[in-house]
Amino acid sequence: MLHLVLFLIFGAICVAGAVNLLVQRHPINSALSLVAVMASLAVEYLLLGAEFVAAVQVIVYAGAIMVLFVFVIMLLNAGEEARTGGSRVAILFGIPGMLAGSLLVAWVLITHSGTQEVSAGALPGPPREIANLLFHDFLLPFEVTSVLVLIAIMGAVVLAARPESIEQQKREG
């Protein structure tokens, strides 16, 4: 019962936040509603018994990534977005395409999904078992991911650095 109520409340917050993200014209409002989406998704993960993923979701997504987004929005001082009204092709093909896609997804979900119940409690995903998988079965992908993150950090620093400072470093070095 509690599980159902929590699922409904936070699922509704999640979808409403996503809609608000699209409706808002100012990027900072969209960023804040994305934080709401992330936080309510963390509660959904808790309901599914994935405690570790919920913690990572809050720390990495709602914390680190969204701080990065808000920082860039402040840095660029981006104002409200002007509406263009959309193109005629988009309306002609987009709306029927969207309807067809939604119907397809609904049909697949209804016909191909079992009715296995997902209940709260008896949590199957304690951090110890995830760590065992992560550092034993998936050790190589884990190490490759660390290289990926390192390269991404270096790429971000090179991209965001001022061109003059790179030239200066070349002359000095």
């Binding site: 996503a18 959904e44 990065l68």
Partner: protein
């Protein structure tokens, strides 16, 4: 009382995915396009965790990998955005035409 099944989580994830795709296709601000991509990745994560309930813990490990990738993608994307803003003084996707011949 209707029990919550995997189907319910899939419906929420599908809604998030569709909203993310709409955001990528319709918004002009690059920052909001990047945020919509995060929304799509979150929908995938919700699917992975919901299925890990049925088929073992591998789904949760994959969700953690997806979160790591999302962090890397956001860092690089926002770095490109800052470099682009320095050149063209705009954040609109329809004015990004530096590679147009």
């Amino acid at each position: 009382m209707v029990p919550i099944t995997t189907l319910h989580y899939l419906v929420v994830a599908a809604a998030l995915f569709v909203l993310g795709v709409i955001g990528v296709l319709t918004r002009r601000n690059v920052v909001i396009v990047l945020m919509s991509i995060e929304l799509i990745l979150n929908a995938v994560n919700l699917n992975l965790v919901a299925f890990s309930r049925l088929y073992g813990l591998h789904g949760q490990v994959f969700a953690i990998f997806v979160i790591t990738d999302a962090a890397a993608e956001a860092a690089v994307g926002l770095g490109i955005l800052i470099a682009f803003f320095r050149n063209k003084e705009t954040v609109n996707v329809d004015e990004v035409d530096l590679l147009k011949w």
